[in-house]
Point group: C5
């Protein structure tokens, strides 16, 4: 998650330098050909305007859907924060078997670490810290680690509900609902992670921007000569920057400064839960990166 409103020149160039070079080259070539070989033909001004209308739709559409994916991802993980707190509160106060409650709260932290690693597709075994050796062995038999951890939770929940001093049906229901919520949060995150945004939209957007840049250079070169290179690049920069902007948040679980700060969120839950368990060796919040510019 980006934290500073003023982007460094570094980030802007990092995002756009490739298309910037490409556009300047294209505009120069188009300008040269138009001025030297077709000095009299003049493409009417309303054509780039019409194309701009279609393009504005594409760029707005992509950005809206990207933002919706990003914000939905944020809402899902916000929900996981809330339900993690409710899970801890219910286990600590509505059950008498404190040992089992502690085990289930620890294991829930492990679930979050495993889910984070699975969404980011990195090899990260931090979740093992919160599981017993026996549990790790069971979990390793399954291809979907966080789902396997939830099975363990369900087993212990059934244990709490059948052994003396046992919790009654209403408490069982409340805890099972939270378990279902965790399952839904996991599945929704996977849906956003695994569903590719229709690639045709992205492809045509890029294609149409390049056509627009060409048309603008053509319609401007007669009036202002080689200055049309700058103008073509400028308009192209505006559209490309807007488009690239949206693309950076399209896959909100990537390891990008603009994406959902899973490290920071999981750490916050971890701290809250360990505090509730009255532990003393509580880790520090996640650090910001590159001079406080963003967190991951």
């Amino acid at each position: 998650m980006l934290l500073k409103q003023n982007l460094s020149l570094y980030r802007i160039l990092k995002l756009t330098w490739k298309v910037d070079l490409g556009m300047l080259l294209l505009c120069a070539v188009v300008c040269y050909i138009d001025i030297n070989f077709f000095p009299k033909s003049q493409i009417p001004f309303h054509l780039p305007a019409l194309l701009g209308t279609a393009l504005a739709f594409f760029v707005a559409f992509n950005n809206n859907q990207a933002y919706d994916r990003w914000w939905e991802a944020r809402i899902i993980w916000g929900g996981l924060v809330n339900d993690s707190r409710s899970w801890t509160r219910a286990l600590l106060h509505y059950t008498n078997d404190r040992a089992c409650a502690r085990k289930m709260i620890f294991r829930h932290i492990g679930f979050l670490y495993a889910l984070k690693a699975s969404l980011r597709k990195v090899e990260d075994f931090s979740y093992r810290k919160y599981l017993s050796q026996e549990e790790i062995e069971i979990v390793d038999r399954f291809s979907n680690t966080p789902n396997a951890i939830m099975d363990l939770q369900a087993k212990d929940l059934q244990y709490l509900a059948t052994e003396e001093p046992r919790i009654d049906g209403f408490r069982f229901l409340a805890l099972n609902n939270l378990l279902t919520n965790f399952c839904d949060g996991m599945g929704k995150s996977e849906r956003i992670k695994n569903t590719v945004f229709p690639t045709t939209y992205v492809y045509f957007t890029r294609l149409f921007i390049w056509i627009l840049v060409t048309l603008i250079t053509l319609t401007s070169s007669n009036a202002i000569g080689y200055a049309a290179i700058i103008i073509g690049w400028l308009i192209g920069f505006v559209f490309h920057a807007t488009h690239i902007n949206g693309m950076t948040i399209m896959n909100p679980f990537d390891l990008d400064p603009s994406c959902i700060p899973l490290n920071s969120i999981v750490r916050t839950i971890e701290i809250n839960l360990l505090e509730a368990l009255e532990k003393t060796d509580i880790p520090a919040p996640e650090k910001t990166i590159r001079e406080g510019e963003y967190i991951l």
Copy 2:
């Protein structure tokens, strides 16, 4: 679901070659008539612009609704994934009758295969693999196969809740809620499948694009001669491509590379559920098609 961002030239031509030919022909005819028979008349430039405004609304509207249908379909099947996991978890851990639980989990895989076949309107009897001979006979009496399978689930759920060692009301409620969710997921999928997008929108969009192409060729031919054919086609291509784009995801349960990858989703659930049942002969994930371009 398309997986690659760079569309092959093959797919673009496949999508648009018919309208491309049609537009080039139309532009050529219009250009020829305008240049030879009405060399002096000039239609004002602001008319195509005004028409473009109306058209932009139509194209944006169609695309937005198409995307909403596509994304809702994806959410519905994401929900089926989550609830399938919860169904398995609950049956394995909250009941003692393991044989009945296995039967109900197997049958659920059958339900998903039957629903997939029904949505794609193909003759596919894969679901029978997960039903007993007796069940297949019962199910075949009904016109709606997946609904008939759910009736069997309800019957066994009632059995679990009344026979010793029986599940209590709270567990019955949790499982019945999941059953209702499956029913809702099925009904919502059928709604999207069976509801035709208002055909007038599609028809008028196409009509207006052809009118726009004609007007653009007319307003450009005086200025740039036969090059107006290229210009008319170019603008028309942009609008047609955008429109056709949206149409490919309008019916998200069709067997199209852009649509919801039901094969892949059902297979993923199948693998998860068979793993949970500790089966060993687990099928492989669905393969990608045409050099990793898409999955179905």
Copy 3:
């Protein structure tokens, strides 16, 4: 619900012939006056463009809200389909009093027929086929027929829950939730039916289109003479067709080819429910109308 993507010329003319004639007349008059009495004055081109911007907002706004009403109506009736299946499944499998269950399922079909008649404001007593003589007499005392039928359902649900062999609280809760859903579906349908879309939007849209047609004819007549009549009509046709389009789905429970096919949906539920009751005299699905063009 329209089924064919290619509109017959018949339907387009049926929708627009009145405004088409009106516009052609208006354009002719305006053109005649402008050419003969104000041959030199020229209204700037950017005025119709500015008006077009405002108009595009109006037309888009109306169409979006119309589509939302239409799609919400479709979702409501999709929900009634799902809940009708769940209602039948629960009554048949979770109760032992099969006679009462059959009565309540029959009565539910009656409820749907009564709701359909009430939404379409037609005199249709089909619902009586599924009620006993005694029930018909009770229901006739109330002004709101479907609501009265639901009262009978609640009475029998209470009977099921108190008489031996009775259903327990959890099953009572599940069935009562479905009853509440039916009540909500009915109320939501009535809300869409009875809430008039703010009339000012519709009125001003029409007014502004007529103003736009006038302005376009005025700004074109100097350049292209009496051909401005065609141009004025063409742009007006695009806006009027778009607007009329939206209006046809604004009241989705009307008896219009574009509206929600209540006949077909109710018949589908009827067939599903009678099949579940193992009846043999099951009615055929609703027929399509006018050469497969639409269903009602």
Copy 4:
């Protein structure tokens, strides 16, 4: 709620006569100054167009939010209708204490009248008709009348659930959920009533329309002389009318013909509930106002 699609000239003038006069005056002054003092300067045409783009956003934004508030208000009261019917159905059929049920249904009608009066900020004591003298005294001690009535309902619900013949926990739960829904409906209505739409949007919209009118008159006066007064007013009328339109439904609980017809909705519920109680002195539905033009 307006019922007729054709607005009378009376209503249009009533809505806009002030700004109409103001705009005509402004245009005349601007026109006079421009023609007499700056006969040669010419502001480029693209400036009003650019301003129009920004303005279109503002007007669309305000109208969209206004409509959302209006439609949300309608949904809330539609929900109150549905839950009132469920409340009555549950009390009459799921309880044995008919006297208490009647009292609670009567009191619910009182709740709706009190809520209506509170939302419209009028002194209306109709609610007292449905409360006993004792209850009126209790309610009068609180500043929020409808909330106080709900406290009485909760008290009687607890009575029903503890005294013999008492309702069981499941019925208690169902009725308590409805009570919570009433509380939510009340709170949501208050939220819409009490939250002022960000005033900056309304203010800047008006400011920008006046600037646009000025610019249009300036850019048109050179070409068409004093006819620019009409043109300036016409464009201004379109934007002002659109803006004022939205504002009339921004506060949907006001006593305006365009707003939510609380009188009519409350009366409909009253009739339904009294019918269910088999009362004979049932009031007539609310009348339409000004020749069937609208209801309140």
Copy 5:
């Protein structure tokens, strides 16, 4: 929350004086250079128009998301109002242990004060007024004060449900659901508070407005000389004002006149709850600020 529709000149200047000065300076410099050094070059008019299209998307996008955040924040706190009333109603009428009920209602007011202070990031210990000394000590051990208060509520809820005369499972469930809602409301508020709106959108919007102002001055200076300074500033003012407008409600829990009036909402709940507890020393509603212009 702003209460008056007419903004004082004071507020407009306060919001925009910095960019106003900056724009006037920029326009003057650009105008001077263009008129004196490039008197003949003329940038085509359609370039600012195209840029305006892209800019309109950015400004609309930012404003829409800002308004959505603001309105969601308002809905969350409206939900807290509703649930606070339900919490009080349930505790007072569904439990017999009046002392414990009072304690839990008092503590809930403390929770709201603690949540408000935490969202506004101010040092405000008002919440201590509603907690006992012992509770304050426990709460101070945790970094998240409102969450710690909820743990105390859960503890007392468990007490109510296990000690004689105890509440049954259904009442426990209803109260626990409200507790979960409070937890969700808190978490959702924190999500909006802590999630920075993607900074790239804000940054590029500002950048593109400055480019647009430059282009407009360049394209106007040839036609109208130094008057282009005013025109450039005017268009820039419209876009900047719109953008700044949106930014003021982007973080709706800030201490700004446009933001959610937490003081006023918390005070309203406090009054309602103390009235329900029949207290006599009830505080007055929050005062409006700066001559009734806004409340906090």
